[in-house]
């Protein structure tokens, strides 16, 4: 595939400055600079801190991606960038940088949707996407079930969270349990020493909710239930069994996510489920999804954890598909759209 298009992808929708290089369907290198350590001091992502870090990291990250991939910018055939959704100020740094690159190099620009990129990244991991694919994206910023007939121009939303994102619930529960930010990995670790002994609520899974919010999620009630349970133990002067609470909370989240994802696959006659987003790194979610997919005869595709979290490779992967399928390039005047709808694959 030496003559397949070489696409440079830029991602700055949250706190990771990502630059990836993809040739056709092959990942050459994925460079990431994260400002997560700075945000940890604040107990959560601070948009202005993220934007400042993106500006500082942008050129060094482009430089490192090219060096490690063994290419020069002159070899690049197109530039892709996350146009939205995400933090407005953070997105603007990436979009402006991508435009500058496209302009300087004289190559087309593809402004793409962050969520579609999470789906497309699996192409560089497991090969062409089955069409249609059912994708579940779960992170600190989103929790969505998508039906994807064609990742370059037809992405349909089946449902999403009506309150907190799944990753947000992990962060909030971690805070309740006195675990550091970001909460996901810490809860995952704590849960390994615990048992599922508390029956926390499964949001939007009963009767009428399954009619009106069949493929939607809700995690704020679960978070409240955990806080109340912990507060009651503390009020009674009892020690809080952190590992058991973590395990029980994690079980409730993964149970709802996988149950609805598999139901969506069945009802839409799709034989493939892809999971992406930072929460896809959760070991219990991966294990439960595998078990339930096996039982249902569904093929599960989950990229490696480094490609599930936000990165530049996913943007480059979608950009390369855009080029391969001859989709029109974006105008140099496109905005950064913080609330870009998931159904708009490109800007």
């Amino acid at each position: 595939m030496a003559d397949a298009p070489l696409v440079l992808g830029i991602e700055t929708s949250c706190d990771e400055t990502g630059v990836g290089l993809v040739r056709g369907e092959t990942l050459l290198f994925d460079a990431i600079a994260s400002s997560v350590d700075e945000h940890a001091r604040f107990g959560g992502v601070v948009p202005e801190v993220a934007s400042r870090a993106h500006l500082e990291a942008m050129v060094p990250t482009i430089e490192r991606a090219c060096r490690e991939a063994g290419v020069t910018l002159r070899d690049v055939d197109a530039v892709a960038v996350t146009a939205g959704p995400g933090l407005a100020g953070a997105l603007m740094v990436g979009v402006a940088s991508a435009k500058a690159l496209a302009l300087a190099l004289g190559v087309p620009l593809h402004g793409v949707n962050h969520l579609a990129s999470h789906v497309a990244v699996d192409i560089v991991e497991h090969g062409p996407l089955p069409e249609p694919t059912l994708a579940m994206l779960v992170s600190g910023g989103h929790s969505s079930l998508l039906l994807v007939p064609d990742v370059t121009h037809d992405v349909r939303s089946l449902g999403s969270t009506i309150d907190d994102a799944a990753g947000e619930a992990f962060d909030k529960v971690a805070r309740v349990l006195g675990l550091p930010f970001p909460g996901g990995p810490h809860i995952d670790r704590a849960a390994r020493d615990g048992a599922v002994v508390i029956d926390f609520p499964r949001g939007l899974t009963t009767g009428r909710d399954m009619e009106r919010h069949r493929f939607d999620f809700s995690f704020s009630g679960l978070k409240t239930a955990v806080s109340r349970w912990v507060a009651a133990r503390e009020a009674a002067g009892e020690a809080v069994p952190v590992a058991d609470v973590a395990a029980s909370f994690q079980e409730a989240v993964t149970d709802v996510l996988t149950r609805k994802a598999i139901l969506a696959c069945r009802e839409h006659g799709v034989g493939h489920l892809q999971i992406g987003g930072g929460v896809a790194a959760n070991s219990r979610l991966r294990a439960m999804a595998q078990e339930r997919c096996d039982d249902a005869g569904i093929e599960l595709r989950v990229p490696r954890p480094g490609l599930c979290t936000d990165n530049g490779a996913m943007v480059a992967a979608l950009g390369a598909q855009m080029v391969l399928k001859g989709r029109p390039a974006s105008d140099l005047g496109i905005p950064a759209d913080s609330s870009m709808p998931v159904t708009d694959v490109s800007a």
Binding site: F42, E48, R52, M58, E63, A96, K99, A100
Partner: protein, 220 residues
């Protein structure tokens, strides 16, 4: 020498392309909320009007603020990315310095004040004196409410939109010097480059992000 100058520190999104011995091509759009949308097309158009391509550029100059953060960053990241992609040096110039030179050209006074909109009822400001080559800063750039700037300073001929926003505080507005002229920015950068002055490309934020660390919250 073919220099591209960019400034996005104020309401104006300004671009100039200046070739030795030719008149600079200048494009300015006033739109405080759409720096990301306007800047790259303006650069493309200015280069085209100058009969040049990006590859012809030898230098890039950029205003480093102070200015509202998101717009300021659009100019800076555009400049440093183009500079890297083209392999040309990028020079940073304080945006208030450029306005000061415009102000001194518009008045006979020996000292001027520059005051731009910093939002939140404050201005970015600095005081300048006429010098042999341009403007010499008498104070470092600062951010504060107009009313707390010393009265003798506020009485000076004042450039920048801060003067329009707070007319009670600034009696001597220079109404024709409101936004950075990118051609002037290019000229300042050329002069400093020739003099070997350092021109770091560091954003002048002047304010820290609005957030408390968990330690600070606990201390409250």
């Amino acid at each position: 020498m073919l220099i591209l100058a960019i400034d996005t520190a104020t309401t104006a999104i300004g671009v100039a392309v200046h070739r030795d011995g030719a008149d600079p091509v200048t494009s300015v759009v006033l739109d405080a909320r759409a720096h990301t949308e306007h800047l790259a097309p303006l650069v493309a158009r200015a280069l085209e009007q100058a009969g040049s391509t990006p590859r012809d550029l030898t230098d890039i100059a950029v205003g480093t603020g102070p200015g509202p953060f998101t717009g300021l960053r659009v100019g800076l990241v555009t400049a440093v990315t183009m500079g890297y992609a083209l392999g040309v040096p990028v020079h940073g110039v304080c945006s208030l310095d450029v306005l000061a030179e415009q102000a001194l050209a518009a008045t006979d006074a020996d000292e001027v004040l520059v005051a731009t909109d910093a939002r939140r009822r404050e201005v970015y400001w600095a005081r300048y004196a006429r010098a042999e080559d341009g403007a010499r800063a008498l104070t470092p750039p600062a951010v504060e409410p107009a009313a707390t700037i010393p009265e003798d300073t506020r009485a000076l001929p004042t450039a920048g939109r801060g003067a329009l926003l707070y007319p009670d505080a600034f009696p001597a507005v220079l109404p024709d010097v409101l936004d950075v002229d990118p051609a002037r920015l290019a000229a300042v950068a050329r002069r400093r480059l020739a003099a070997g002055a350092p021109m770091p490309v560091e954003p002048l934020y002047l304010r820290r992000p609005d957030a408390l660390t968990t330690a600070e919250r606990a201390a409250r």
